[in-house]
């Protein structure tokens, strides 16, 4: 049950990026995702790439590891590239294969759009690679704090998210156990006719749902027993500390945005 998708997998470390306040990281990545769309020429894309590469380098996560994680999306990038290569009809014709002609604009567009996609994935991956899910949750809760005034149940949502994250390994284990138990009763999860496959899935999902509901019920009881009664009057153990370095990084993103505005054509 191992997957090689690294999106969402935390890699422990003590780099400057790891130690950034999760709120800062969330804001940086969010801002980056927006300003990516400002880029429209070689200079601006180079600047954006430079920023993302520097960010990745500072995390001290081996680049080969990040690259391996990006592999699964490569075919999407390739597809985007090809699509633009053949569909955009701007500028001079560079190359001609039969009825298909490749224009200068197509090459440019293809490279830019796939680069944009790659950068977006890279930056969001950097967030999850260097931030534990619980820190992300804390960050989201804190950033959404102002919404509490508008009666958005921010605390409850954050707690829900935290509990879901906490139970992912438990449910993975449970899934494996049930699959094994059903396999021992002759279920083949790897193949068979459509109807057999459906039956196999049902034999996994029904027990999984039932045990999850039972868990949810017991957990709710346990939370009540431990004095939980909503967000009111609750103190918080996990604390976020905004440090000067967080401000510096945000300033860097602001600078990047300003430069992009200046350099774009």
């Amino acid at each position: 049950m191992t997957n090689h998708l690294i999106i969402g997998q935390y890699v422990p470390g003590h780099s400057v990026i790891h130690r950034l306040d999760p709120r800062a990281k969330l804001l940086i990545v969010f801002a980056y995702v927006l300003i990516v769309f400002l880029a429209n020429n070689a200079a601006t894309y180079a600047l954006l790439s430079l920023f993302a590469l520097a960010f990745a380098a500072l995390s001290r996560i081996p680049f080969s590891f990040i690259a391996r994680g990006l592999k699964p999306i490569l075919w999407v990038v390739l597809f985007t590239l090809l699509l633009h290569l053949f569909m955009t009809k701007e500028g001079d014709v560079i190359y001609q294969i039969g009825a298909l002609s490749v224009y200068e604009g197509g090459i440019k567009q293809g490279i830019f759009i796939s680069l944009r996609f790659l950068l977006l994935v890279l930056m969001t991956t950097m967030l999850t690679l260097t931030t534990t899910p619980i820190e992300v949750t804390d960050g989201v809760e804190s950033l959404l704090g102002p919404l509490k005034k508008m009666r958005v149940p921010v605390h409850e949502l954050a707690l829900m998210m935290a509990i879901s994250l906490r139970f992912i390994p438990t449910l993975m284990e449970e899934t494996e156990k049930i699959m094994k138990a059903q396999a021992a009763r002759g279920v083949d999860f790897s193949g068979g006719r459509f109807s057999e496959r459906m039956k196999a899935i049902v034999s996994l999902l029904v027990p999984l749902f039932i045990s999850s509901f039972k868990r949810a019920d017991e957990l709710a009881t346990a939370m009540e027993a431990r004095g939980y009664r909503g967000g009111e009057g609750r103190t918080k153990f996990r604390q976020l500390a905004w440090k000067p370095v967080d401000t510096v990084f945000l300033a860097a993103v602001a600078l990047l945005a300003a430069l992009l505005c200046l350099l774009r054509s």
Binding site: E174, K180, A181, G186
Partner: protein
């Protein structure tokens, strides 16, 4: 069906940074018709071992021979189904595998997967529900309306319905109260003898191992620490204590009596009855001397 483990090793997540060796150099032979108890701490490799018995796991090196079939790291039978039909596994908390709308359907699920005709599967369900100590009218109920203990019995019936030659039990009594535990162990013992099964019981209970098993395999830190009759395995309490395992209460009593009385008690004292008998003899000897 004889089962033989030859130099079996199992590494989880082999060839990755998360690699973890759960079994190594495991050599065990389980003869057909034996009742074998596997004991050891959590993490000793017991449950990894048992998953090799029906091909749920493949050894990363060495070979597992189950009857005619051989499973090695690069070779396993093309069809695992025949093997899985012959080796039934009752996992811990087997009630977690129930999913059908009715008890009858759930019991029939396994047999139908193995191509047993529906009529016959239903007939078997009726027979088995009584065997596990429930009444026939339970068949029409939803398994989820039953009590925990009843659900477990239904799940066990679902495994027995495969009519396996080898029955593997992974702590089948966990969470039951004393009466439930005793009834269930007696049921398995009865089945073992009546259907001439080969039974492999994974347990923490030294009492059950002593009472029911012909042989005990002691697992420790991923390999076989000892293998022999209960009498042999429980002879040296200190050695077992060194790996954090205990001997049954009866054997403890026997050893304390031997020490206090300065005598040797010839009986292995594996059950309460045997031990009471042995003490009786100890006392009657004294009377003879008088």
């Amino acid at each position: 069906m004889d089962i033989v483990f030859e130099k079996v090793e199992h590494v989880y997540n082999a060839r990755s940074p998360l690699a973890r060796r759960a079994l190594y150099d495991v050599n065990v032979a389980i003869r057909s018709g034996a009742y074998v108890a596997v004991v050891g701490h959590t993490g000793s490799g017991k449950s990894t071992l048992l998953q090799h018995l029906n091909g749920l796991l493949q050894p990363t090196s060495g070979a597992v021979k189950i009857g005619e079939e051989t499973i090695t790291s690069n070779k396993r039978p093309k069809q695992l189904k025949p093997l899985r039909k012959k080796v039934g596994v009752v996992f811990q908390f087997p009630e977690h595998q129930l999913f059908e709308e009715t008890v009858e359907k759930d019991i029939c699920f396994g047999p139908l997967n193995f191509g047993v005709p529906e009529d016959e599967a239903k007939r078997k369900a009726r027979e088995l529900i009584k065997l596990v100590g429930l009444s026939e009218d339970v068949l029409a109920k939803s398994p989820f309306d039953l009590s925990g203990g009843q659900m477990r019995r239904v799940a066990i019936a679902g495994v027995l319905a495969l009519e396996p030659e080898v029955l593997v039990l992974d702590e089948p009594t966990a969470g039951l109260d004393p009466r439930g535990r005793k009834e269930m162990m007696e049921m398995f013992y009865h089945l073992h003898r009546e259907k001439q099964l080969t039974t492999v019981l994974v347990t923490h209970s030294m009492e059950d191992a002593a009472r029911y098993a012909d042989e005990i395999v002691v697992m420790h830190e991923g390999t076989v620490w000892g293998h022999g009759t209960p009498e042999e395995m429980f002879r040296d309490a200190d050695k077992l204590a060194a790996i954090g395992l205990s001997v049954p209460e009866t054997v403890k009593l026997k050893q304390q009596l031997e020490k206090r009385f300065g005598v040797v008690i010839p009986s292995p004292c594996l059950t309460l009855e045997q031990t009471a008998e042995a003490i009786q003899q100890l006392f009657s000897k004294v009377s003879v001397h008088d």
